[in-house]
């Protein structure tokens, strides 16, 4: 049994190190789709987080609760929603994004945005109000003052971005439903692991699992060192 596991691990490493085109195509799709979703979402999410933390408009409570609820919705439900939107009879059916990377990006945007909004709202709520007041009274425009706060909160905001990225990179439900798991088109790491495991091709599943494991270790290391740097201010 142990020999079997060792052999599988060996095969998995061999697939990765020999730059197996199938495995690396899957890794490439996974990262490019998730990075695209993250890039599109990051600025609006942080700005919405700032608005929710700093302004007191009517209905703020409702929006905050809605975002918190969206965080806990299973990705497969978001996948279903996006599927219904993108299907030929759906509202966005004309885009023909079903079973494409664009469709996957849309789904992942809906998954990562609530995480980033909620975490950046928490970060902005914790900032010293004098930072905002100082920036504004010194003549900074609204946008520059927001940028100044982002600079002050770079560690918690980076933590929010990393948390959102790890959520979308590892989600399987939405990618499976919206992407359709098409080789070289929409097959990403989580959907490929699910497929290869069901086929009994454990070596490839383990190779892709190792990529996620290494990524998790790297992200955890970054998070740990960032948290260490985010010491409370004495002023």
């Amino acid at each position: 049994m142990n020999d079997g596991w060792l052999a599988l691990l060996q095969q998995a490493f061999s697939l990765l190190l020999s730059l197996n085109p199938d495995v690396w195509a899957i890794i490439n799709i996974s990262f490019s789709v998730s990075f695209a979703a993250l890039l599109i979402t990051v600025v609006p999410s942080i700005i919405l987080g700032f608005i929710l933390a700093f302004s007191h408009f009517r209905g703020r409570w409702v929006v905050t609760n809605l975002i918190q609820t969206l965080q806990s919705i299973p990705t497969v439900v978001i996948g279903l929603l996006v599927y219904l939107l993108l299907t030929r009879q759906g509202v966005l059916g004309d885009l023909k994004w079903l079973f494409t990377q664009q469709g996957m990006i849309l789904g992942q945007m809906l998954i990562c945005a609530p995480v980033m909004v909620a975490l950046s709202q928490a970060a902005f709520s914790s900032v010293d109000r004098r930072a905002w007041e100082t920036s504004r009274t010194l003549g900074a425009s609204w946008l520059r003052a927001v940028w100044t706060l982002c600079r002050e909160l770079r560690v918690p905001l980076l933590l929010a971005i990393i948390a959102a990225f790890s959520r979308i990179l590892t989600e399987v439900g939405c990618s499976m439903m919206v992407g359709g798991n098409i080789m070289n088109v929409t097959r990403n790491i989580p959907t490929a692991i699910a497929l290869e495991t069901s086929k009994g091709d454990f070596a490839q599943a383990i190779a892709l699992g190792l990529v996620l494991l290494i990524l998790a270790l790297v992200l955890n290391f970054i998070l740990g060192s960032l948290r260490g740097k985010a010491l409370p201010r004495s002023h």
Binding site: D128, R130, A131, E133, T134, S135, R136, T137, L138, G139, A140, S141, R144, T148, R151, E152, R233, S234, H235
Partner: protein, 250 residues
């Protein structure tokens, strides 16, 4: 209660508050019928702890919206068309405990310069002047969080000065400061006065700083009283003793 105020020319650079009422929850903090803070004024803002000195300053700075009333600026250059023409950045407010941004002393010092269109020469000249005035020459590359209380206050004043504000409000600028830093801050404020900057300085007690002032605003029993008579240490001491004797608080 209507308050008289020395008349000001209409074209003077000023912030003008009219019929302002400030409430905190259901409690009225203060009210004022008419208040003008203009370039060249040097005003001592007096009031007990919690009377609303900082709140009044923040209202004039545009950082807080009063419960009722109107605050407007006059005589300032108009903002570009894409920016809302608000009070912010007109009368600069300095916190009692200044907030310094993450980064070096130089980053903090030059923060306000990024909004201004200056030539490299002008920019360099202003930075040099500010450094010399605040005596921060040896600390430029230090992290702002490493500064002492006095150095922080000097940096905060220099950071505001560098943008050459027409109106500057200093909230208890020399409280909890050693004598050396007090002297330096006093010299900086005196320099600002010489430059014609309108100054509004809050303090709950008279000191060398308030002796520089030519006008007096006093928040007392929920109203802002204005006068041209600045109390000396002795008169304030007597007034405080009387208030304590009769148990009057704000």
């Amino acid at each position: 209660m209507a308050l008289s105020h020395p008349s000001v020319s209409n074209d003077a650079i000023q912030v003008h508050a009219q019929n302002v009422l400030m409430k905190y929850q259901q409690h009225t903090l203060f009210s004022v019928a008419d208040l003008t803070f203009k370039q060249g004024d040097v005003i001592y803002l007096q009031g007990d702890n919690g009377s609303g000195k900082s709140t009044l300053m923040k209202i004039l700075a545009g950082l807080i919206t009063p419960t009722q009333g109107r605050v407007a600026s006059h005589g300032f250059a108009r903002n570009p068309w894409w920016q809302i023409d608000s009070l912010l950045g007109k009368a600069v407010y300095l916190h009692q405990h200044p907030y310094l941004f993450e980064g070096s002393v130089k980053y903090n010092l030059t923060y306000a310069l990024k909004q201004l269109t200056l030539t490299a020469k002008e920019r360099h000249h202003r930075i040099e002047q500010a450094i010399n005035m605040a005596q921060l020459n040896d600390l430029l590359d230090h992290h702002a969080s490493d500064l002492s209380g006095g150095e922080r206050q000097r940096l905060a004043i220099a950071r505001a000065w560098i943008a050459q504000p027409k109106l500057l409000m200093l909230d208890e600028p020399i409280s909890n400061m050693d004598k050396h830093s007090q002297r330096l801050v006093l010299a900086m404020i005196n320099q600002l006065k010489q430059d014609g900057t309108g100054l509004l300085i809050s303090s709950h007690q008279t000191c060398g700083l308030t002796a520089l002032c030519k006008q007096h605003w006093h928040i007392k029993q929920g109203t802002v009283h204005t006068s041209m008579h600045v109390p000396t240490t002795e008169t304030v001491h007597q007034s405080n003793t009387t208030e304590l004797h009769y148990g009057t608080t704000n």
